[in-house]
Amino acid sequence: MAVAEHIVSAEARRLHDASIVIDGLTFYYDGPTERLVATDVTATNVTAAETASNFAKATEEVMVLRQDMERDDASVLIRTAADIEQAKRDGKVGIILGFQASLPVETELWRVQMYHDIGMRIVQLTYNDRCYTGDGCLVDEDAGLTRFGARFIEELAARYIALDLSHCGRRTSLEAIDASPAAPMFSHANPNAITENPRNLTDEQIRKIGERKGMIGLCAWAPLCWKNNTAHPPTVEDFVDHVDYVVDLIGVDHVGIATDSGVTDNQAWLIQHSADFNATFPAIAGEYISHHGGRAESGMPEVNTLVRITDALLRRGYSDVDTQKIIGGNFLRHFRNVWGA
């Protein structure tokens, strides 16, 4: 569904244009793209490698992405929070490099520093399955953070890389929150109380993020915010219900947004990714898709339609100030805090 079909208020458009907007999770960047427009998004966490990539493969993927950025005048690599503010002033889209797995580090802690050196700023601890640091959200008996994982988290903090706990097992994530010297985040996850899904968060996980003054990026990807409603796919209002729930639980200062959408014009690549993902991890989106089909039909906000979220938050009664926090201000504060600049 194209952006033009969604009517947003002039007030929402104005506020959105004046704000720093940060998307907590996007993927598949491959150079100049119509999907990244500075008036839609100021900066976005872009997953820089496939989730199963080992060291050699992930490093190659990061460096290919860096080369793709060199021929893209509309985007800029983000190394500090100040870079995000500068991107806003320059009218560019900031690319924050993230991994959705710790697997590229394998069991070599020195690679954390190396990855920081080549621009990585966010690393997710596990992705659905078990890895050397802990268990993912699809492991039946989550065995928790490993001995290596505890050292890994300390190294991330020492190297000023943000710890992301999305896709982690519940026990692993709770132990990681306790172990992390820096404030942790879930870059893209929702309250399980509103939409039941192994990817979503219990109240305990949400509260602990509040206690540690971390961040939760509420996720507009339909299978995580459909409220298990078999009658129709979710609307942006359903998404805002998830925002409300977390704001009620831990306050408005620890909430952000994430679309989990692609940042490439290569539709075939996205379709293939979606098919592979659903075949490998049917427990996450299988039931949703059986009722409502895949992403193309979902009609939910993506990285180029984030203004719809701004519009929905204002309609829900959020103040301009709180809306600005949710659509990017909180993530900016969080990144400044954990990146040390």
Partner: protein, 335 residues
């Protein structure tokens, strides 16, 4: 059996060191030891598949350069090596990490000649928990797949360095015998690397054997005396008493070619895994080796000591190699 009969027995026996590492050249130490076969730790525990392939290939190169070495992929190869005056390498690994995330690589590495794989090394890997992992959890789903693949391919499962619960689950799940290639009874030496009576008994009930090790930090029984050959004898006799002399083997955990162990590897292992050696180090800071059993070089002395203590020829041959040969033969699918 007198001393010269014991010497003769040692020269005549199939001697298998169930755990050793780093061979780059023929060595006097190895020749003195009288070994017939060495189960070699080949990849680094942190290596992925690509580095493991290179590491295994280095042994093919070594065998080409040095005709006194050969690679054994069957127990007959080991007996042939004895007959030919060669020393046979059994290609092994001390962590399944090199299998990465794909149990199908088990068959691939079997094709490259790998015959022994230890599941984990001290910490949790993708297969299960190591013996220093505080949570002591069990096998992962991938770990269960890998065990099935090892059973199907005919690769010996080794459970030294593996966490207690993971090791017990592996023994339970495996349709083939598992071994502890180099671990001592916790009842005598309380160390995280050592194993409980339950682990020893389960291993043997599944058809496996337990390899006693002279590695000083795990041979030491505490107290004012640093570890000696007497401690190793005590470990052997404890296990023999518990599960029978036919289920004991030896894993010296020693360097085949002295000086070939890279200093940065020693440093890394000491930094990452201080727990097993910390107790000995704090009590006896300068002791690195077991007096009288410093490396594989003293294997003939072990034979002499066992003979003195009244062990029979068959029992000694068993401990030196035949017990392990019996298990290898079964798990390698020769029966």
């Amino acid at each position: 059996m007198d001393a010269s009969a014991a010497q003769q027995l040692h020269r005549d026996a199939i001697v298998v060191d169930g755990c050793s590492f780093f061979a780059t050249r023929w060595s006097d130490r190895m020749e003195t030891s009288g070994v017939t076969a060495l189960q070699m730790t080949v990849p680094m525990t942190w290596d992925g598949a690509r580095d493991a392939i290179s590491a295994y290939h280095a042994y093919n190169n070594l065998v080409e350069r040095e005709p006194r070495f050969t690679i054994a992929t069957s127990t007959q190869d080991i007996r042939d090596a004895k007959a030919n005056g060669q020393v046979a390498f059994i290609l092994g690994a001390q962590s399944g990490q090199f299998l990465e995330t794909d149990e199908r690589l088990v068959e691939v590495f079997h094709g490259l000649g790998v015959r022994v794989i230890q599941l984990t090394y001290n910490e949790r890997n993708l297969l299960g928990d190591g013996c220093l992992e505080p949570k002591n959890e069990g096998l992962s789903p991938l770990g269960r797949q890998v065990i099935k693949a090892m059973n199907a391919a005919g690769i010996q499962i080794d459970l030294s360095h593996v966490g207690e619960r993971t090791s017990l689950e592996a023994i339970e799940l495996s349709t083939q015998p598992c071994i502890f290639s180099h671990s001592n009874p916790k009842a005598l030496a309380d160390n995280p690397r050592n194993i409980t009576d339950e682990q020893i008994q389960s291993c043997v009930a599944g058809g496996g054997v337990v390899g006693v090790s002279p590695y000083a930090p795990i041979a030491w029984r505490g107290g004012d005396t640093p570890p000696t050959m007497d401690d190793v004898i005590a470990h052997i006799e404890y296990v023999a008493e518990l599960v029978g002399p036919e289920n004991v083997s030896i894993g010296t955990d020693s360097e085949v070619t002295p000086g070939s162990y890279p200093a940065q590897v020693t440093k890394r292992l000491a930094t990452e895994y201080p727990e097993p050696s910390a107790p000995l180090r704090s009590r006896h800071p300068n002791v690195r080796k077991t007096t009288g059993f410093e490396s594989m070089e003293q294997l003939p002395d072990l034979t002499a000591r066992l003979a003195e203590r009244g062990w029979t020829e068959d029992q000694i041959r068993g401990i030196l190699g035949e017990n392990l040969m019996r298990v290898y033969s079964k798990t390698w699918g020769e029966a």
